[in-house]
């Protein structure tokens, strides 16, 4: 084998001492590269990208910058540092030592959790592979690619767990992660939201903000897991995830900022003519992406979620911060549910409502980002505020999936809802307008008309730095 593993695959899992893992990777790694070349960013595989690579988990090593062709990116395997004294923090095994090996009892469940999480990583790369052709700047193009290679690394992280702990089943699942295709009819990605196209950069920023944020909460709850290797893997992934969320939130912020500039300059709400995106369109995109991301948390009442928690496999967001028994024995909470034409609160066992509890943390996080965006609008002296729609709005999963809820949280008839759909969700005209704006800007320091430049560059580099070089001839 031509691979020098410690060189080629940065890791802190003693890869060269683990024959089983090496053997698995020898087979999987070439398949991954084939997948990357086939399904990774289209047209830019040979470009030099100013990328951050993690070469170790300490402060010095986790962010090393330099030009790389993406296929040469050194996808590594990293676990956050182990704490030898740690004990399982919640569920029926609370207080027992963390599992260093998979307990046979939970093998199937853990594999499903890891595969489901792992499947989202290559899926998002596939969803975004055409975006390079319409990037609003080299800065944004580079950020997209950074996110893409790191989603690739997150796939590696999950594959590491499958290879290291699940034997033959794990190797087969790892192969299957490279076999499914986002949007494919025959072999689609596991979760619905990851089979939707990401057609334009506004959708991309929305995805990075709302959908990747679901990923953050899923990872954070897995980072609490009693299965120590999973917990440590997810903890390290969260450090990278923060950048993805930054790309999303700041991207939307910059679109808003640009829109406000154009509104003030031309004294109009309709900035389409001037190369901007109306706040109303942004609100509709937000409504769409927020609502489908809420679905990713699953049903309000879920025995699976209860089982995962009780088994010690998946905790709550920041489990340590909860001031309770961490077992939820006899605990209850209120959950919203539709009842006839109104939405009421019902009291439910906290254990079965854990998806809702995680969704609460997510909603609060989204509210904070929303406040920051609204600050940009306020600073431009424009009387408009973006809003998060009601959590029952436009839902396909859970108790609200069968009813028609407006963004304000009223239940209306199907007909009444459909008649106002265009006020709430992106219309074909909106999509056309956004699509028409998507024209590539590839000169260093230049930005598309619909987005403001960022405050600062990457790794202290100036904004006109050549973040992606050796571009393909367009």
């Amino acid at each position: 084998m031509g691979l020098n593993y410690s060189e080629r695959i940065p890791n802190n899992v003693n890869l060269s001492g683990d024959r089983r893992l090496m053997r698995a990777l020898e087979i999987w790694q070439p398949h991954f590269l084939e997948w990357w070349k086939e399904m990774g960013p289209e047209g830019f595989q040979a470009a030099d990208v100013y990328l951050r690579t993690a070469t170790s988990v300490d402060a010095k090593g986790w962010a090393t910058f330099g030009y790389l062709k993406m296929p040469d990116y050194r996808w590594g395997i990293f676990l956050a540092e182990a704490n030898p004294d740690e004990r399982i923090a919640f569920g029926e095994h609370k207080g027992e030592p963390l599992w260093r090996e998979i307990p046979g009892e939970y093998r199937g469940v853990l594999r499903r959790l890891i595969v489901t999480q792992g499947d989202t990583e290559p899926a998002s790369v596939e969803q975004q592979r055409h975006l390079g052709a319409t990037c609003p700047s080299l800065y944004d193009l580079r950020n997209l690619f950074q996110v893409n290679v790191e989603e690739g690394r997150h796939l590696w992280a999950m594959v590491y767990l499958l290879h290291a702990y699940f034997g033959r089943d794990g190797r087969e699942e790892a192969e299957a992660l490279l076999g499914r295709r986002s949007g494919s009819g025959d072999n689609p990605r596991i979760l619905g939201a990851f089979n939707e196209r990401t057609p334009d950069w506004l959708s991309y920023f929305m995805f990075a903000h709302f959908t990747d944020r679901d990923g953050k909460y899923q990872l954070a709850s897995l980072a609490e897991s009693g299965f120590d290797p999973l917990a440590r893997t997810c903890r390290f992934m969260l450090t990278e995830e923060a950048h993805h969320l930054f790309v999303g939130e700041s991207g939307i912020g910059r679109v808003i900022e640009r829109t406000c500039q154009l509104m003030n300059a031309h004294d109009t709400d309709s900035v389409g003519l001037f190369g901007g995106i109306d706040l109303a369109i942004i609100q509709r995109y937000l409504n769409f992406h927020y609502s489908i991301s809420l679905d990713l948390f699953g049903s309000e009442l879920s025995t699976n979620a209860a089982n995962y928690f009780s088994a010690g496999l998946k905790g709550r967001y920041r489990e340590d911060d909860w001031r309770d028994d961490h077992q939820l024995i006899g605990a209850t909470r209120t959950v919203l549910k539709p009842e006839g034409s109104v939405i009421v609160e019902s009291t439910q066992p906290a254990l079965v409502a854990l998806n809702e509890t995680l969704r609460d943390s997510y909603v609060a996080d989204c509210e904070r980002a929303l406040a920051r965006w609204n600050k940009i609008i306020g600073a431009a002296n424009i009387d408009f505020a973006l809003k998060l729609p009601h959590r029952g709005f436009h839902r396909a999963i859970g108790q609200f999936s069968g009813v028609n809820v407006t963004p304000k949280g009223e239940i209306v008839s199907a007909q009444g809802w459909e008649s106002r759909r265009d006020q709430w969700l992106p219309t074909s005209a909106d999509k056309q307008l956004v699509a028409d704006l998507m024209r590539p800007v590839l000169k260093p320091g230049e930005f598309a008309s619909w987005i403001a430049p960022p405050v600062r560059g990457i790794n202290h580099q100036p904004l006109d730095f050549e973040y992606v070089a050796d571009l393909p001839q367009v």
């Binding site: 053997r23 998979i102 046979g104 009892e105 033959r168």
Partner: protein, 549 residues
Amino acid sequence: MIDFRTEPSCYRHWRITFTDSVANLVLSVDEAAPLVPGYDLKLNSYDLGVDIELNDAVQRLRFEHPEIKSVIICSANDRVFSAGANIRMLAQASHPFKVNFCKFTNETRMAIEDATANSGQFYITAINGACAGGGYELALATSYIIMADDGSTAVSLPELPLLAVLPGTGGLTRLVDKRGVRRDHADFLCTTEEGLRGQRAVEWRLIDEVVAKSRLRELALARALEFGPQSDRPAEARGLKLDPLERKIEEQKISYSNLTITLDREKACAFFDVTAPDTAPPADISAMRESGCRFWPLAFARSLEDAILHLRFNEESIRSWVFRTKGDPAVVSAYDTFMIAHGDDWLVREIRLFVARTLRRLDVTSRSLFAFIEPGSCFAGTLFELILAADRSYMLRGSREGDDTPAPRIAVNEMNFGAVPMYNRLTRLQTRFLGRPDRIEELRSCLGTYLTAEVADKLGLVTFTPDDLDWDDETRLALEERAAFSSDALTGMEASLRFAGPETMETKIFARLSAWQNWIFQRPNAIGENGALKLYGSGKRPEFDRRSV
């Protein structure tokens, strides 16, 4: 702890007497010697202790008495043949005990039928007084039933009307399957507490003959002697005395001469390590006779049988049994060749039939069975059956890193093609490849070849073939996962999957025992506060939930 080892000098409940080629197996239950305290064994009723002796007697009559061609089962009590399984014993027993008790008694009755069908030892029952429930079921296991015609002696299966349970030892199935009793007649019998007597019992085929009480013994002996010429048992041969079985039981370990069982209580798992013979098979039959109970196939079957019974009753929480073997597969095969070559010898036949019965005990054991095939193992022929009996098998692909022991190989031989059939009367290979005779033919061409994991996998002989890198994890996870499942659900699943193919009387008996009887044993109508089994003997009328399920 329940010990299944016994011998005639220790019997409390049975006597054996001999007249020429006929043995009398006389039931004479010592009322004051129950297996555990809490009940008296009145009216020749039996408990597990009585049946352990019966099992031993049936076995010894086969091995130690080649001259015995017929066996008459009768009672020493002048008015009672047997009242069947002791009700107070059943009422106080745990559910797992009841189930395993019924399973064991069934196996003993099937051993009686096996002796009649395959060993030339014909069983007759002479009923001299009340013969109820398990007593009549014992009679049903014999091939000819004679009953005293004294106006009171009757056969009955009163379980349903009296106790709201079923006859648990194959009674219902044997009536219609074996004796050809009409189902409406059987229905009447099984709902009539006092049963049937005299000529009507004969007309309904419940028994074969009635006779005046004074002539009962005489007639039984005559019928027994009539059978003699049909038997191929050698009158002049010398029997093989079954020596006391040596074993040592420690907290985590049970050791026999050729089998060691290590218990992992935390993982609810027992590792059976079978050791192959370390010497070549004897040169001929007389050399085999010289080695006596040390002859490996016999010694192996005796250890395995005792281990199965011991673990079934005394280690209820050990849910998975893992079979491993150690030794030279060529030597195991050589013994098999000896067994096949001398198949006509009465003793070799007895040993083969015993091996077959023991393997059948595995088939009906409510434990998850695994075979782990590792370097140094010897899963050939007879021992290959352990792989086939297992619910799953793992065979190491290649050898272990840093260990010169060659990669494991397995081998099929003649023993796997009909010598040790299952209760469905198919071989384990036929059951595994049901409806695929081409697969069996394919295996015939592998006779005598030692198969690697790759080949065994291709031939469908093993389940998984992890290599050294995966082995420890795969096997550990398989056992841990098993230990986490519901034991009840596993029992039901395993029993359903093990017996592909045709139903036989035996498979029906075990299946109905584990489904119907065990279900009824759990229902309030039997065991609730006001259930019939609970209230039996109290004079109170049971209260039934009248809804049909």
